[in-house]
Each structure stands twice: as structure tokens, then as C-alpha cells.
């Protein structure tokens, strides 16, 4: 069957992503900062993804929006929660996934799924930036390092430090006092990764961690957090090549299902 291309758009708190799919093939995608205009970010993300796929909006049979900004995507046919989308996306990439850990810009969630990619249980962090990308972003600023460089830097850590505050604001004060004490940046960064991993693994224990674990969201690009979290969970994790687009990918897969359903 000749399938029509569909799109998934994930408008998160920090970044907006779009994925264009036809059948099982990803034709194009984009990752852009959301900024203050989520509708504009959604439009732009879709435009860039379409450009990469050499298509125009008119070619698309169906669009599903997800993420916190999903309500501000008026041109989407459907809006679906990011929990359902991350489950679909992770299942598509790693069909043996039973646990999805998504650490995004300002929330983190743990989703347990079954062999068909259906959500069985989930837990989300409550109204607090602890254990999220934002936590690392604030700390990167305090340490004057690039967010992207943190993973690499932490590999050079030689000394074990502990950041005991979960709270982003209090942890930042701790970081400042560690800097004042003359501790090495690498060691502080490593301790911060431990802190995020600690927080997320306790969230994961609430749901239960089943093999295989797939990690999604921007923080999955940080090797330090991935290493710490893998150690705490006692198992390796699948890391997608582009962990940030998994939500948008899931939305595109739901688009495909809905487009098929509509065409029946």
C-alpha cells in the first residue's frame, strides 16, 4: 500500500521537534528551541522538517501534536499526551523496551509499557525541576560550562563529591560553595549527574524498572547522567541516536495509525 506522509510535532518547554514519516521510514526531522512563542516554534519546526524531507505541508495526510505546547498547535489534526507518544516512539526504535525514562527540559517521567508499546503505568516529577534538564542547565550556568560539554567533562572526574539538595536553587548554592572551596569543575559536574540520576531512579522505583530500559529526551545525550543512571538501575539503557525526537516520532507513528484509520 502506498502510504501518505504524516507528521508528529513535540512542543516541549525548552525545544520543539518535528518528524515526518512515511510507512516505517523517517523522511526528515528538526530540533529547535521553543522560546516564548510555542505556536511559532511548532510552525518553524514543521517547516524545517518538511524542508529536510523535500516536501510541503500539503503533502501531509495527518499531523499529531504532543508536549506541553500541544494545545498551541492549531494546525494539528489531533493532540496526544507526551506520555503516550514517548511510549510509542521508544517501542518503535527498541521493540523490547519495557521501561521508558524521559528526562526533558522541565519534567522527567518513567513509563512502563507492554510488548505492544501500550502504557501500563507511569510516574512524573511533581512541580519541581529536580531531576530534569533545567536542573543541569542552571548548574552549567553557575559553573560557566556549556550544557553539551558536561557529559565529557564528567569523565575526567577523580574525586567523589556529593550534592545533597534535590532543590535546584539550594543545589546551586551548594555548587557555588564547592567552587569557592576550590573543588574541580569535573568533580562537581559528576556529583550533579549523580544527583539527577538519584532523583530519576527513585521516580523509576515507583513504577518498577523492567528490562529493557530506553532513555529519551535531551538529557539522554549527556553521557555522565546515562552512566550514573545505568549504574543505579543496575542495567544498561538503550540510547536512541536522536533522543530528543522520540516524542515527535511517537506522535508521527500515532499520526500514521490515525491516517490509516481515517482512510479505511
Amino acid at each position: 500500500m502506498d502510504r501518505l506522509p504524516v507528521a508528529g510535532i513535540d512542543v516541549g518547554s525548552l525545544s520543539a521537534e518535528a518528524v515526518i514519516m512515511r510507512g516505517d521510514e523517517v523522511l526528515g526531522y528538526s530540533i529547535l528551541p521553543t522560546g516564548a512563542d510555542s505556536r511559532g516554534a511548532a510552525e518553524k519546526a514543521l517547516a524545517v522538517a518538511l524542508e529536510n524531507a523535500h516536501m510541503t505541508a500539503g503533502d501531509l495526510a495527518f499531523i499529531v501534536a504532543t508536549g506541553y505546547g500541544r494545545i498551541s498547535v492549531p494546525f494539528a489534526n489531533k493532540r496526544v499526551t507526551e506520555i503516550t507518544c514517548h511510549a510509542k516512539g521508544a517501542h518503535f526504535l527498541f521493540p523490547k523496551t519495557r521501561t521508558v525514562i524521559d528526562i526533558g527540559g522541565q519534567d522527567s517521567k518513567v513509563i512502563q509499557i507492554d510488548e505492544s508499546g501500550r502504557v501500563v503505568d507511569f510516574a512524573m516529577n511533581d512541580k519541581c525541576a529536580a531531576g530534569t534538564g533545567r536542573f543541569l542547565e542552571v548548574m552549567a550556568r553557575a559553573l560557566e560550562v556549556d550544557l553539551e560539554a558536561m557529559g565529557d567533562l564528567s569523565k575526567k572526574s577523580r574525586k567523589h563529591l556529593v550534592i545533597s539538595s534535590m532543590c535546584t536553587v539550594f543545589a546551586e548554592s551548594e555548587v557555588v560553595s564547592l567552587i569557592a572551596r576550590g573543588e574541580a569543575k569535573e568533580d562537581i559536574i559528576s556529583a550533579l549527574h549523580e544527583s539527577v540520576a538519584e532523583r530519576v531512579s527513585s521516580l523509576a522505583q515507583r513504577v518498577g524498572v523492567l528490562h529493557q530500559v530506553t532513555m529519551t529526551g535531551g538529557v539522554a545525550k549527556n553521557e555522565g547522567v546515562v552512566r550514573s543512571l545505568g549504574q543505579k538501575l543496575g542495567m544498561p539503557m538503550n540510547i536512541p541516536p536522536e533522543p530528543q525526537i522520540v516524542g515527535a516520532l511517537g506522535a508521527a507513528i500515532i499520526s500514521r495509525e490515525l491516517a490509516d484509520g481515517a482512510g479505511r
Binding site: K78, V80, T81, T84, V119, F122
Partner: protein, 372 residues
């Protein structure tokens, strides 16, 4: 004397009618709003739970409208609510407001002091009038509960989203205006037929059933629970509340006055998980979750104010109930920082989860995900 009391769901309708028919002038606080919450938070201890903060906001706004007498329920713990009346009195006095406060404590088998207290509040009234006022109040309580029980069945099936909620607002205003028992009955009956007349979809599988359990104030007050009952209904779920005012009055007020506290059949359901009273509605939360699982519900949502001790006890027990009886349970905790965005995401994801569970159990065919 201008009398007021705090809001809790639709309580203002029957209680307002009761006091008015006892010859008292009632000044209601305006419906709870962001301003109420803000006034309450500014003037309450930060670590008190949300009910206290909203109460304080309600009282300040009622006093601004001219109220000079506050009626508040007391309690005997271990839930902190029992002491909130006293704390609220102190807070308002500290702010310089002039008012009289009546804190009505549960009679615990001794009805004398209660009657004396009510006597000093109400003044001389004919027993006939008291009986009529109580009957009118009860008529409104049971009428509103009947309407709500029908509304939650109609809402997930409505063809035009939002119609049930709009119709209910209308009906409740009419029930509120009814000044006699006969007029109340007529308004309730008219309301029931209006709800039944709302166009509903007939095809498709029956909507999933979700039980709403938790702390009474958060369960009953839509402003505080961010309209969790309406939202779930509009996502296509049939919601059953564990607490309806009429059931609660039957069990606690009437039961307590006449000391007919028999072993409660519902609470024996909780025994394998929780064997004793933990204050507030903690034990009820566990018991109702077991009950909903046995009745084949698709999921349970627990709601509570942040720092609510009885519900925290229940929350720690619910994962075991959920696992052993195979029913998905989600907990939502509310405080002044709760945002509807976060609640909507969780409710949609939970609805997806229970729909996909029904597919897995073979109850329904493959279905689309929840979307808005």
C-alpha cells in the same frame, strides 16, 4: 447578624437554605477564585494544607461583603482540620477583622452542648421551623447528589462536549433558588429530565469507569481539584465519586449524633491493607479503591491536598492494592502551585492507559488514543 461559611463544592446551596429558613441572614463568600487563593495564602501558615488557605480566603471575601458571623466545623483529629476553626479565628483576629465565630464540634454522643451552641447561634425559633429547615436542607443535599450521579453518566456520552456541565450550572442555580421543599423537588426533577434529554452517543463500547477517592474537601471542591471530575468526564470517563454529601451526612453526622456507629461494611474491605483509622478519609480511600477494583472499575484517582497526613498513609498503601487487585491508580496532589496544564497531561495519559488496558484485556477493540 450576617452569617457566612466557607465554600466546599455545592454545600452552599443546602446550608444556605438551612440558615435562611432558620431566620438568619446569609452572606455567601463569592465563588472561590485566584484572588481567594491569593488572600488565603498570604495570610496562612505556608505548611498548612490547602483547605485552610482557601477557607481563610473565603472568610476575608465574605467579611468584605459584610458578613460578621462565621460558622465552621470542628473535629477531633488526627487530621489537622479539626483545629482549623481555631487557627482561622486567630488569623482573622490578627488581621483586625471584627466577627463572631461558631465552631461546631462533632457531638460524640452528647447532643446537649451541640443544641445549646446552635441555640445561641440561631436564637428562639419554633421547633416546626427547625424541622422544616432541616428537611429542606436534606432535600437539597439529596437532590444535588442525584443530579450529580446522573451528570457523570451523561457527560462521557454527550454529543456536544461541555453541554452536561453547562446544563448542570443552570439546574443547580434553579435548585438554589427553590425556597420550599416542593419547589426543590420540582427543580430537581426538571433537572433530571433535562440531563436525560441531552443528546448522547449510542454506539461504541461503554465508557471506562473511574473512581475518585481521597480527601473530602479536595474531592468535593472543583476549584481546588482543578475540575478533575468534569475533565475526566469530558475525556470520556464515567466518574464515580467516593464521597457524596448525602452519604457522608448519613454515615457521620446522623451516625455520630445517635451513636449508631456499627462496624462499617465498607471499611472491612480495607482490612487486608489497613486495619485502623488514620484520620480524615485515609481509611475510606483504601476501602473505596478495593471496592472499585472488585466492582470492575477501570481505574482509580486519588486526590489530596499537599501535606495531608491521612491521604499520604493511604497513598503509600495504594500501590499494593493496585498490584494485587489489578487496578491502575494515580495520585494527584494539590496546593496553591498546582497548574491545570500538569493535571490535564496526567489525566489524558491516565485515560490513555486505562483504554489501552481494556484493549489488552480484550474488552474493546483497538482504539485511538485520547486526544483533545
Amino acid at each position: 447578624m450576617k452569617l457566612t461559611f466557607a465554600h466546599m463544592g455545592h454545600l452552599y446551596i443546602p446550608i444556605g437554605a438551612l440558615f435562611r429558613h432558620l431566620g438568619l441572614e446569609v452572606v455567601l463568600p463569592p465563588p472561590s477564585s485566584k484572588r481567594t487563593l491569593s488572600l488565603g495564602c498570604q495570610n496562612s501558615p505556608e505548611f498548612a494544607c490547602l483547605p485552610l488557605k482557601v477557607n481563610v480566603g473565603n472568610y476575608i471575601e465574605a467579611i468584605e461583603r459584610g458578613a460578621d458571623t462565621i460558622v465552621m466545623a470542628g473535629g477531633i483529629g488526627p487530621c489537622r482540620f479539626g483545629f482549623y476553626g481555631e487557627v482561622e479565628r486567630e488569623i482573622l483576629q490578627g488581621l483586625g477583622y471584627e466577627f463572631t465565630m461558631f465552631i461546631i464540634d462533632p457531638p460524640q454522643g452528647k447532643i446537649g452542648p451541640l443544641l445549646k451552641q446552635l441555640g445561641s447561634l440561631v436564637g428562639p425559633v419554633k421547633p416546626r421551623d427547625v424541622i422544616y429547615a432541616l428537611r429542606l436542607c436534606w432535600e437539597k443535599v439529596t437532590g444535588i447528589d442525584r443530579l450529580n450521579r446522573l451528570a457523570v453518566k451523561v457527560r462521557p456520552r454527550e454529543v456536544t462536549r461541555g453541554e452536561t456541565t453547562r446544563t448542570m450550572t443552570d439546574i443547580l442555580a434553579e435548585v438554589d433558588r427553590a425556597e420550599t421543599i416542593d419547589a426543590t423537588r420540582a427543580a430537581v426533577n426538571r433537572g433530571l429530565s433535562r440531563l436525560a434529554g441531552i443528546p448522547q452517543r449510542q454506539d461504541g463500547p461503554p465508557p471506562p469507569r473511574v473512581g475518585l477517592v481521597g480527601e473530602i474537601y479536595v474531592v468535593l471542591e472543583p476549584f481546588v481539584n482543578l475540575e478533575v471530575e468534569t475533565r475526566l468526564g469530558e475525556l470520556g470517563c464515567e466518574v464515580e465519586r467516593s464521597i457524596y454529601l448525602s452519604d457522608w451526612i448519613r454515615r457521620h453526622v446522623i451516625g455520630d449524633i445517635f451513636r449508631i456507629l456499627r462496624p462499617d461494611p465498607l471499611l472491612s474491605l480495607a482490612r487486608p491493607y489497613l486495619g485502623h483509622f488514620v484520620g480524615g478519609h485515609g481509611l475510606d480511600t483504601v476501602a473505596h479503591t478495593v471496592e472499585y477494583a472488585r466492582r470492575g472499575f477501570d481505574g482509580v484517582i486519588q486526590v489530596m491536598p499537599f501535606t495531608c497526613m491521612p491521604e499520604i498513609v493511604a497513598e503509600s498503601i495504594l500501590p499494593r492494592v493496585s498490584k494485587e487487585l489489578g487496578i491502575p491508580v494515580m495520585t494527584l496532589v494539590f496546593d496553591e502551585h498546582s497548574s491545570d496544564v500538569g493535571v490535564i497531561t496526567r489525566l489524558e495519559a491516565f485515560t490513555d492507559l486505562i483504554m489501552q488496558r481494556r484493549v489488552r484485556l480484550g474488552e474493546i477493540g483497538e482504539c485511538a488514543v485520547t486526544s483533545v
